[in-house]
């Protein structure tokens, strides 16, 4: 199994597209045209962070409009109804497809997979580079779509036809088509990345890295990649049909000409729900790594977590129609999907229980990454529990399209995309950049994020229970929704959002200053076991001075009869 890795080590100068030991390359070759998996990971990471800023800015603009309707938003101007729809649509699109996916899967998958399984690069380095380039192109197309005549696409991130398929409704033919094109290209990019991940983990592991010695985060990324690749096909098919409707004037989704708008939901949600688990599983994996290291304890049940993750992947194919309970699907189908939706909470709960059991009796160190990991468990729990109400086809009829839904999925996606990413960034920062982050600033940032998040979305649960519909430009036009009590909740959410955004500057400051002037990190600052901590910080091209071989599982902390409480995977004894 180790053949590709050793083969590369043997011929460091003629591997496909490898340029090991050529450190005097120009800026372009080194940072923009690199085939090194670490550089591609940084490209994904920084692109994702940039897109997060855009997505956050959009959220700020439309939340200000909701709290203070019609007022001029500082830094944006007046939000018109068309602007509002564009902002909401692209906030969702950006945060899911251009922030959660690239940061959690692409960036950390690229960075961690070769380092953690002990090889020098991905199996297909040039495919990897192409993957980022297509991703960058998709991001550029998406941003360009904001500046075409009539502005960006405004048919919600789910792009339901006929709103998305006919220019008479969405009013921006260019924006809509560019949006579909950008999303489709982005999927092509992640398809390439996913193929690379699975193949690398299959064929390039270090000697001794048996399947049950692979760190949990790698397993999670692999399972997520397989899920993604299995579910994305029908969505791309749907997107092709949508593009034909938009550009070439076919009537696949047009009920007036024999088409069926429900068809799009059928194809979209087949991908859309596995997508949740595609981003959730890597975050769960990151949490497993962080919790074991900072509880100084073996993962409570490695095999259980692994099998649970596989079960989650399988069940996630059976739940997607719960998004369409009120769309007019067959009630028999709704019955089935209610049951399966409630079933999928079992494996997820099981994972959370395993993590809690890992914490029991551990000597816990409350470092910044650990705080993020614990925050993830707490916040995600709220999101998971509220999902039960939406998964039951009866109660969903009431909750559907209210702010309850918005609060629910933000309580799942925010922990995944942001808390999970912050845990990963603060944990692997010393390895990625060779410097330590500031712990005090990190903790300030943690508390300054976790409290406002609850301040944003807990009021929205109440607003949703009171019946606030989620796609309203100004509630002042509706007497029932314009009550002062509800408006106060909206203002509270918006103020919390502003606080949240303000504290992200602490993170950016900490990130940049630590990157440039932080104290030097040694090879293994957290005393962790996994292979990436045996490489230099930051690892050079080719990662390891000598290719490691693996002797034990990744979570041997506190083994009896040893001087140290950790036992690196590659230590002979």
């Amino acid at each position: 199994m180790a053949e590709p890795a050793t083969a590369h080590a043997q011929h460091p100068h003629n591997g496909a597209g490898h340029d090991h030991a050529h450190h005097d390359e120009g800026f372009f070759k080194k940072y923009l045209w690199s085939t090194d998996h670490k550089m591609i990971a940084f490209q994904y990471l920084f692109t994702g962070m940039l897109m997060a800023i855009i997505g956050g800015y959009f959220a700020y603009a439309f939340r200000m409009q909701l709290a203070y309707p019609g007022a001029s938003v500082p830094g944006y101007g007046t939000v018109s109804p068309a602007d509002y729809l564009m902002l909401v649509t692209n906030h969702g699109t950006i945060m899911i497809f251009w922030v959660a996916m690239p940061v959690l899967i692409a960036a950390f998958g690229n960075y961690l997979i070769p380092l953690m399984i002990g090889c020098d690069d991905m199996v297909f380095p040039r495919l990897n580079r192409l993957s980022y380039q297509i991703f960058l192109l998709s991001a550029i197309i998406l941003i360009a779509s904001f500046f075409v005549p009539n502005g960006g696409f405004s048919g919600a991130w789910t792009a339901y036809p006929p709103l998305s398929s006919q220019a008479a409704y969405h009013l921006t033919p260019w924006g809509a088509s560019l949006w579909v094109l950008a999303v489709a290209l982005e999927f092509v990019a992640f398809l390439m990345g996913g193929i690379n991940f699975v193949t690398t983990v299959m064929n390039s592991r270090a000697p001794g890295m048996t399947p049950l010695r692979i760190p949990m985060v790698i397993w999670m990324i692999v399972i997520a990649s397989i899920l993604f690749m299995a579910s994305v096909g029908p969505l791309v098919a749907g997107a092709v049909l949508l593009l034909f409707d938009q550009v070439l004037g076919t009537h696949v989704y047009d009920p007036n000409h024999g088409g069926d708008p429900l068809l799009w939901q059928h194809l979209f949600w087949f991908f859309g729900h596995p997508e949740v688990y595609v981003v959730l599983l890597p975050a769960m994996g990151v949490v497993a790594e962080v919790i074991t290291v900072f509880a100084r304890k073996k993962l409570f049940a490695y095999k259980t977590v692994l099998y649970t993750a596989i079960a989650t992947g399988i069940i996630s194919f059976f739940v997607w129609a719960h998004h369409q309970f009120v769309a007019g699907i067959d009630p028999r189908m709704a019955n089935i999907f209610t049951v399966t939706t409630l079933i999928i909470s079992i494996p997820i709960a099981e994972m959370v229980f395993v993590y809690l059991a890992t914490l029991i009796g551990g000597s816990i160190r409350f470092t910044t990454p650990m705080l993020w990991a614990l925050g993830f468990l707490g916040a995600f729990l709220v999101g998971g529990v509220t999902g039960i109400f939406l998964g039951s086809s009866g109660s969903d009829i009431y909750f559907h399209d209210t702010y309850f839904v918005v609060a629910h999925f933000h309580f799942t996606f925010f922990p995944i995309a942001f808390i999970g990413s912050f845990a990963a960034i603060t944990y692997w920062f010393p390895k990625m950049f060779g410097r330590m982050m500031n712990e005090t600033l990190g903790k300030i940032h943690f508390w300054g994020t976790i409290i406002p998040v609850n301040g944003i979305f807990l009021p929205l649960f109440i607003a949703g229970l009171a019946g606030d519909h989620r796609r309203i430009y100004s509630y002042m036009n509706f007497p029932d929704s314009a009550k002062p009590f509800l408006q106060d909740l909206r203002i509270m959410a918006t103020v919390s959002l502003c606080v949240l955004i303000a504290f992200q500057f602490v993170f950016l400051y900490n990130f940049i200053v630590s990157l440039l002037r932080g104290p030097k990190a040694d090879k293994n600052p957290w005393n962790a076991n996994t292979l990436e901590w045996t490489a230099e910080s930051p690892p050079p091209h080719g990662n390891f001075a000598e290719m490691p071989s693996v002797h034990r599982g990744p979570y041997e902390y506190g083994a009896p009869g040893r001087d140290q409480d950790f036992w690196p995977q590659n230590a002979a004894n």
Binding site: A230, P255, F270, D330, P331
Partner: protein
Amino acid sequence: MSSIPPPVALLPVSRRRSLLRGLAALCWLWPSVVLACPVCFVAREASRLAFLWTAILMTFLPLCMMAGIVYFLWRQAQRSARENQGDAPPDSPKPH
């Protein structure tokens, strides 16, 4: 062990009858009978069945394909393990 009666038989006859009545009521409530689909463009049974069957197809096809690849790899792993031991020719049938 095998003589444990089914739970329904444990009940007195009158209760059993009411239970059956309850089940019948549940069957009557089976939602396709009270199908109310205000937004269905096509309320034809064929259309709804097409949604159902394609949902089943799309759900199980990837799982079957994954299972196929995993089974193939598992067999390859077994074969290469046997080759490594050197006690069996590569194309001999599996021992179990």
